[in-house]
């Protein structure tokens, strides 16, 4: 465990939602899609890279069709494991297949105000506050830039957000909010300053970049160009598919996996063709669409199955995975939010997804709630505990204690009990009190979670970022704004 970070490792629970044969079929379907149907790459730079590497490029439609061999060879160049660096090196994260690292959710647009509880538009101060609270929790291993700083200029917004997180936390930062060339260049400059030079980014990447694919079977131009810039300097970069059954993907789960896989694998191959060995990751938040209103469900059984299936695919390609979890359509922290957070995080963790996104959101990744964040963290802790499984050995079989207590009596007075009692899970937010106590207070998990967030925000002081670095960041941001 790194300093102040709880990650899941050495799992004792296993789940096989896809057999090796299933994976092979999905892989073959994927290659066939990329070769025959093609994938859209609306970026001049991307199309040129494809053409130079023997792909069939339709410049007018911006669709690329690629022979399986080219894709397979390219993917093999991706490093299977690497680390995400943190400002505090003791908080570096291993993406090695044996760690599940929790991140916050990101890029939301509204927040339930921590003091008033009212829903309002997100601003820069919110990004700072969330970073600070996340810095203090041991469950959150890295940040996804949580909210959109809507009180900052559009052209530099993604940079203000990055600066805000780095200034308020020593943990690794991943962003989804940098999706054009200008901001990507500036973000790389910022990462270079933190790493002590552009050449050091590869060794100490304190920033990683996530870009969405554009399902079905496409990419976004700005996202592609930003990803290429990042991959070039060794910033870990991933493409996330959100292909959703019925709207942007086939209605059947296997078909949806194949479409999403084709998007991610084609995008990843592009990065490897351009910069062999660049650290890349697979990212996914596949789900189903609601048949009545088309909304992105971000929950439900299909979502949970995707959560467990995707790491099997990422393992097959031997690259780390960032898996969307904790998404919920719930409007407040309630039954639905708990259920969806619980099952999605469990299913994605049990297969050892390297990065687990993301705690804190309601209403389909749109509204931040501090209470939800804290309760999601507790869910992660429960999953963490479950993944340790049941240890069976002489000590845990407790034969001495069993003999000492005999039939009848209790174990409360046993040394063995005292020795192991802290191994039992101690919830922070579960109600196990007498009924009458609840009746007089009528409070619950949401109140306690919010209280904890408020206390943390008030008390926690993260190690500050060097003022000189802050000033340099400011200069970089200003230069983007002047343009």
């Amino acid at each position: 465990m790194s300093k102040n970070i709880k990650t899941i490792s050495n799992p004792k629970i296993k789940l096989e939602v896809l057999t090796q044969d299933d994976v092979k079929k999905i892989h073959e379907a994927t290659l066939q899609i990329i070769e025959k149907v093609g994938v859209r790459f609306p970026s001049k730079r991307a199309l040129e890279i494809w053409a130079a590497n023997g792909a069939d490029v339709d410049y007018e439609k911006k669709i690329v069709r690629v022979k399986p061999q080219i894709i397979e060879d390219a993917i093999k160049k991706a490093p299977p494991a690497y680390k995400l660096a943190a400002r505090d090196p003791q908080q570096d994260l291993q993406l090695d297949g044996n760690h599940v690292n929790l991140g916050t959710d990101g890029c939301g647009v509204e927040i339930l105000d921590i003091n008033t509880g009212e829903k309002r538009t997100s601003c820069l101060q919110d990004v700072r506050d969330i970073a600070r609270v996340a810095d203090a929790t041991e469950e959150v291993a890295f940040h996804w830039v949580s909210l959109s700083a809507q009180d900052t200029p559009v052209e530099s917004r993604g940079l203000h957000e990055l600066k805000a997180v780095w200034e308020n936390s020593t943990k690794h930062v991943q962003t989804e909010s940098v999706y054009n060339v200008e901001e990507a260049k500036a973000a790389i400059e910022m990462a270079a300053i933190l790493a002590g030079g552009k050449g050091n980014i590869r060794e100490r990447p304190m920033l990683s970049l996530m870009q969405c694919t554009a399902p079905p079977l496409g990419h976004d131009g700005g996202s592609l160009d930003a990803a290429l810039l990042a991959a070039e300097v060794g910033i870990p970069t991933g493409f996330m598919t959100m292909a959703a059954c019925a709207t942007t993907g086939p209605i059947t789960l296997a078909g949806d996996l194949a479409v999403g896989n084709a998007e991610v694998i084609a995008g990843t191959a592009l990065l490897q063709l351009a910069f062999p060995g660049a650290p890349v990751f697979y990212a996914a938040a596949q789900t189903a669409s609601d048949l009545r209103n088309g909304s992105y469900t971000g929950g439900g059984p299909e979502d949970f199955l995707f959560g467990a299936a995707t790491n099997i695919l990422a393992d097959f390609y031997n690259i780390p995975l960032s898996m969307g979890a904790f998404a919920t359509g719930a409007k407040e922290p309630n039954w639905q939010a708990g259920l969806e957070g619980g099952l999605s995080s469990f299913m994605a963790s049990v297969v050892m997804s390297d990065m687990l996104l993301g705690c804190g959101f309601l209403h389909g990744s749109r509204i931040w709630s501090f209470a939800e964040m804290m309760m999601d963290c507790e869910i992660f802790s429960i999953v963490h505990k479950m993944m340790q499984g049941i240890v069976v050995n002489e000590e845990t079989l407790a034969m001495d204690a069993i003999a000492a207590v005999g039939p009848g009596g209790h174990y409360l007075g046993q040394k063995h009990t005292r020795k192991h009692m802290r191994e039992l899970f101690m919830p922070q937010f579960m109600d196990r009190r007498p009924y009458s106590e609840w009746e007089t207070k009528k409070d619950d998990a949401r109140d306690w979670a919010l209280a904890k967030a408020r206390k943390t925000l008030k008390e926690h002081q993260p190690d500050p970022l060097d003022a000189k670095i802050s000033a340099e960041f400011e200069k970089i941001i200003k230069s983007v704004e002047k343009k």
Partner: protein, 216 residues
């Protein structure tokens, strides 16, 4: 016999079968049926049925979308005949719809388009990543009375304002009304940019559109 044919027409829409609906429309032409009779007594009955079922939660989006496609296929055959007679279908209004420049989120906009057409609007869907001049240009070209703009990013919602400002500058409002939508769009934003209407979902979008064209 005529009743039978009307029923088949409605059924082709309910089944979402564009081949059959086009075939039946062709048959209507051959039988020298008045195109508006075929539309009103036949095909529209199917659309209304699916719409009602959808409203009750018993039909699903794919059925609605496919009914819309089947309707389009029938209209494509009947419209030229109607023009020959010097007549046209009565529509509730003409809407130019787009996702704004820099934004590629498509589904919400498309669903709004589907619901609008199912409710009797003529919809010209420009697609995603559409700059202001394209949107306004198209609206002028087709003489639209409504522009619908979708934006799902906080960085692209400002484009909605640009379009509205441009329309105002050219004195094109209130002739062209503007409605907006998308994940970050709030009532406050709508007031701030002085849009004429907004909705959080596609069914609401139809209500707003009807109000804006004075058909509610």
């Amino acid at each position: 016999m005529l009743e039978e044919l009307y029923k088949e027409m409605a059924q082709s829409i309910i089944d979402g079968d564009s081949d059959i609906s086009a075939e039946l429309a062709q048959k209507a032409v051959e039988l020298k049926m008045h195109p508006l009779d075929a539309i009103t007594n036949g095909f529209v009955v199917g659309v209304t049925y699916i719409g009602d079922q959808f409203g009750k939660g018993e039909a699903f989006l794919p059925e609605l979308v496919m009914a819309g496609e089947a309707m389009k296929a029938a209209i494509a055959v009947l419209e030229p005949e109607l023009l020959k007679l010097g007549e046209s279908r009565e529509m509730l209004g003409r809407v130019v719809l787009a996702t704004v420049e820099g934004d590629i989120h498509e589904i919400g906009k498309t669903l709004v388009g589907t619901m609008l057409s199912a409710s009797g609007f003529e919809v010209i869907d420009l697609g995603v990543d559409q700059p202001a001049d394209k949107i306004i240009g198209k609206a002028l070209e087709v003489n639209a009375n409504l522009i619908g703009m979708s934006a799902l990013l906080t960085t692209t919602m400002v484009r909605q304002r640009e379009v509205i400002e441009e329309l105002d500058k050219e004195g094109l409002r209130p002739r062209i009304k503007v409605m907006v939508g998308g994940a970050p769009i709030t009532k406050d934003w709508v007031d701030k940019i002085k849009a004429d209407g907004y909705s959080e979902d596609a069914i609401g979008a139809v209500k707003v559109a009807k109000q804006l064209v004075g058909k509610e």
